[in-house]
Amino acid sequence: MCGIIGVAGADDATSAVLLEGLSNLEYRGYDSAGIAVGGDEVEVEKKEGELSALKRALAGRTLDGAVGIGHTRWSTHGPPSDENAHPHTDESGRVAVVHNGIIENYRALRDELEAKGVSFSSETDTEVVPHLIAEALDAGADPESAFRRAVERLEGSYALAAVVAGTDAIFAARHDSPLVLGIGDGAHYLASDIPAFLERTRDVVYLDEGEFAVLTPGDWRVEDELGEPVEKEVETVEWTAEQTGKSGYDHFMLKEIHEQPKALRQCLRGRVDELEGRITVEELDGLDAPEEVHFLACGTSYHAARYGALLLQEAGVHATAFLSSEYATSLPPIARDTLVVGITQSGETADTLSALRKARGRGVETVALTNVVGSTVARECDHVMYIRAGPEIGVAATKTFSSQLVGLNLFVEQLLADEPRNRDVRELVSALRDLPGQVQEVLDESRADEVVEEFMGAKSFFFIGRGVHYPVALEGALKFKEITYEHAEGFAAGELKHGPLALVTEETPVFALVTGDGENARKTIGNVKEVEARGAPVVVVTDGESDAERYADSVLEIPATHERTVPILANVQLQLVAYYMARRLGRAIDKPRNLAKSVTVE
């Protein structure tokens, strides 16, 4: 959740590299930041607030040293403050530590240390770590052993990095929280996310669970829990720093909304064959149609999961979408022939990882649907399918949701390819190939900006849809609340009259998703009439196939297409609705309050 950056061997540029890395991690959402530079002495500067506050505190001063670590914090223990910001130090200031994750036994450790007379200066769980290291140093251990001894005491999830005075090295450890090394020319890096150092190097080493790493200006090595050296493969990442710039857009979110045609083309490439009328996902080759499918996901990915479950149900496969945190909390019965599919953009979502681990404990096959190559979920699941959306920086997921929906179409057809049902996917293949251009059409012609203007100051915003549009209604509402801070809810269109209708007034605009002219459209139009009768302003997102426009105050048009791809187009309109509303309200669109891009705590 928080961000970590470290560098060894940057010479005079240590603090500059750290600040650059923190700035690249800024999108993760945080409330304080700090850096520590090691060498003969350890120097620390940290500040509550945005990175600019830290820069002001440094006031042009550069901290010198061969190694350094930096951190952006998103509060889990203790409110944002200078004291609670990382890096944390021991009493003598010899040791500085940055940490992502949660140390579950910190209370017991803290009590133990305090009983020995150690005084704490923050309310964080992290601070136990530097004190434990200092304790081991005092007992005569060398810095590396001291770090190891401290880590052995910890329970919970962590990615840790530490510097110790008098040693030109960074010590790092990973357990249930991501950590990646960057292997540069002369300098070596470590970070919680690759973009932190992507401007410096594209050669990376992914740390696995329980591994330790030591970075020095000239060298790096990885060891397992027992201290045995581990041979690690250096991989080159395809993403380049240039992709993470804003390229003239006001916000990453708008840039990413506009990147959707490109993202979808990448997702489809090589997987759909129009001449043969075939869909193949090579990396899932050999995966047979299961009896039952469980989708596990959180947030936006959960809405994608619901869509995926609908597709499978239509094909006659038992499929259910679960919220990862609930799944992990109360595990449902899992039949042996169940396929468990985790959907996580970052591949690091702690709730989903934890739920997947529980499912694996039951001995079932697992699949990861993710965007990040080499992520934890990709390494822990039996199979992985990438959605290939490219890096997403905006906290509010946009292009990755679209790519997840397209990816799920491919996933479902790959799964059922050998079924005797002999599914005819020709129409779907054509529709998928037409989709990027249709998304472009929506982007070129959307009236979302004008439409939202009419609803400034409304009390609540409702989004309704039926069937495949229900997950989109949920997602439309989530996106809206995430970045506008206005109250929004998504409902199954047919469910309104069973309760929520009581909330509907002239001050609650309702966004209704109506496409095609079949039964679903007819019924949803019925629901639209219900809210219209209560005086609510209605915006329909429609392909113009039905007469839904007649009951609407405003219309957001989308092209008519296959019923499985049309929700993706409807969702693009809702993304723009949320974006333009948030912009009119002056919100921090790329860094909405209290939220972080990838949630690596449970």
């Binding site: 992709q243 390229s247 129009e274 001449l275 992985v384 990438y386 290939r388 490219g390 472009q440």
Partner: protein
């Protein structure tokens, strides 16, 4: 002189290319199957430019989204021109980012690397401005130049006098002090033109250098010019970088499906065969400002490659380029020069080419014939349809058996009639032609227009209009 930075002006729409500019500015229209602007960037980078400044305005999302933050690893800084108030005003948008001498080129006009290099090398610290100059009979109709040695001694817009033989090619190097000159130039009809500022410099006796260069590529002024532009680029084999700057970004991906024969590498022979350039409109129009300065220089000089026999692709066909992610049915015929863009699909018994460029994700279905045409991204040509000498926008749908047979026609653009254009049709973004329709030569089908089954199209179809039988 070592010039690191270049400003590329790409904020204007390019109204004479309507209706193709409905959703994107002219620099993003296809030259063969890549945006014109990519060729401009290529020339600059090949000439040694490290830092790109792009002035954007009209439909800037499209430009920003295509290029992102860098092109060929050179960072792009975007400068937004809120209102299109002339080329000088456009340049001023980038002024705060430039503190050393810099290049300026138009983003909607293909430029040669040699021209950029010549200007870059000739410019010295003493010069406030250096500009590329070419010999052309058209000089009196454009920004005409007179040189005394390497000094520009006269700079006049459209002098209409035969004594002028040199024109301004629209490739410049300026010193930062030039911004002051632009700011002090009087606006004409509210617009601030670069050439007015240059003329002012010359009048004041400031050092303005002229570099005689070999000429430039033909520009696309009207929609049908995209056809001859594509033909020239294909004949010169200049389409190879067709993958574009962002093509290879497929995390965890693998090389796409690939065509049945993997496609790709081919020899290219310049100007083999030989046929007439399709009738080009004569006489450049009176255009304002600098943008049009060299638009028709070089017009009608290259010969196209016509009537080549069906080529056997597996034997290394001449001038056939198929992207590795495209799929071509083994029973389809590709006749060079032809380009098939990424993700495109060619069905059985389809015939594509010669002189045809298909953009990204284009589908040519079974038995369709596409010849002498530029078909832009996401378009579909239905079974047994025929497109000859056509230019399409994005996402165009041509139904089964619909025919645009091509031929010579008079085309009206604005108030002007262009006689004898070799133009099958211009079909703008997302126009939809249902099955069995007939499109007469020279027709312009507007964006989102709908031509119903069996209808007959002649002349203009307005945006969003429906044509029934």
């Amino acid at each position: 002189m070592d010039i690191e930075s270049a400003v590329v002006l790409a904020a204007g729409e390019g109204t004479r290319l309507r209706p193709l500019t409905k959703h994107r500015p002219k620099p993003m229209l296809p030259a063969a199957n890549r945006p014109i602007l990519e060729y401009v960037f290529d020339a600059l980078i090949d000439a040694g430019v490290e830092d790109l400044h792009l002035v954007v305005g009209y439909k800037r999302d499209r430009v920003q989204n295509h290029f992102g933050a860098a092109y060929r690893d050179r960072p792009i800084t975007y400068h937004v021109q809120g209102k299109q108030l002339g080329s000088g005003h456009a340049l001023l948008q980038a002024s705060h980012a430039l503190d050393a001498d810099f290049l300026v080129v138009n983003g909607d006009q293909i430029v040669r690397e040699e021209t950029v290099t010549a200007v870059r090398e000739a410019h010295t610290v003493e010069d406030v401005a250096t500009l590329a100059v070419i010999e052309s009979e058209e000089a009196p109709n454009y920004g005409a130049v007179k040189l005394d040695g390497d000094r520009v001694v006269e700079f006049t817009e459209k002098p209409r006098s035969d004594s002028y033989r040199l024109l301004n090619a629209g490739v410049y190097v300026f010193a930062p002090s030039f911004f002051v000159e632009v700011e002090s130039t009087p606006r004409q009809h509210g617009e601030l033109s670069l050439s007015d500022s240059i003329a002012q410099l010359v009048e004041n006796g400031s050092p303005v250098r002229g570099v005689l260069t070999d000429g430039i590529w033909e520009d696309a002024t009207y929609p049908w010019d995209l056809l001859s532009l594509a033909r020239k680029l294909m004949n010169r084999g200049l389409v190879e970088g067709a993958a574009g700057p962002n093509a290879a970004v497929v995390p965890g991906g693998r090389d796409g499906a690939g065509g049945p024969d993997g496609a790709g590498g081919t020899d290219r022979t310049d100007g083999a065969g030989g046929a007439d350039e399709p009738g080009r409109v004569d006489g450049p129009e009176g255009v304002d400002g600098t943008d049009g300065a060299s638009e028709t220089a070089g017009a009608g000089r290259t010969a196209g490659l016509r009537g080549a026999a069906a080529l056997d692709r597996s034997a290394g066909a001449d001038g056939v380029y198929v992207d590795r992610t495209a799929t071509v049915h083994p029973d389809a015929t590709l006749q060079g020069p032809a380009i098939v863009g990424p993700d495109s699909v060619i069905g059985p018994a389809a015939v594509v080419g010669p002189n045809t460029a298909l953009g990204r994700n284009v589908t040519v279905e079974a038995g369709a014939v596409v010849r002498g045409s530029v078909v832009d991204v996401d378009s579909r040509v239905g079974p047994n349809a025929t497109l000859v000498d056509c230019v399409t926008g994005e996402g165009v749908q041509v139904g089964a058996g619909t025919v645009a047979p091509g031929g010579s026609a008079d085309v009206r653009i604005g108030t002007r009639i262009h006689e004898g254009c070799q133009l099958g049709a211009v079909i703008a973004d997302r126009a939809r032609l249902d099955g069995g329709a007939t499109v007469e030569p020279g027709s312009l089908v507007g964006p989102h227009a709908s031509v119903r089954t069996g209808a007959h199209v002649r002349g203009d179809v307005d945006e969003g209009a429906e044509v029934r039988r």
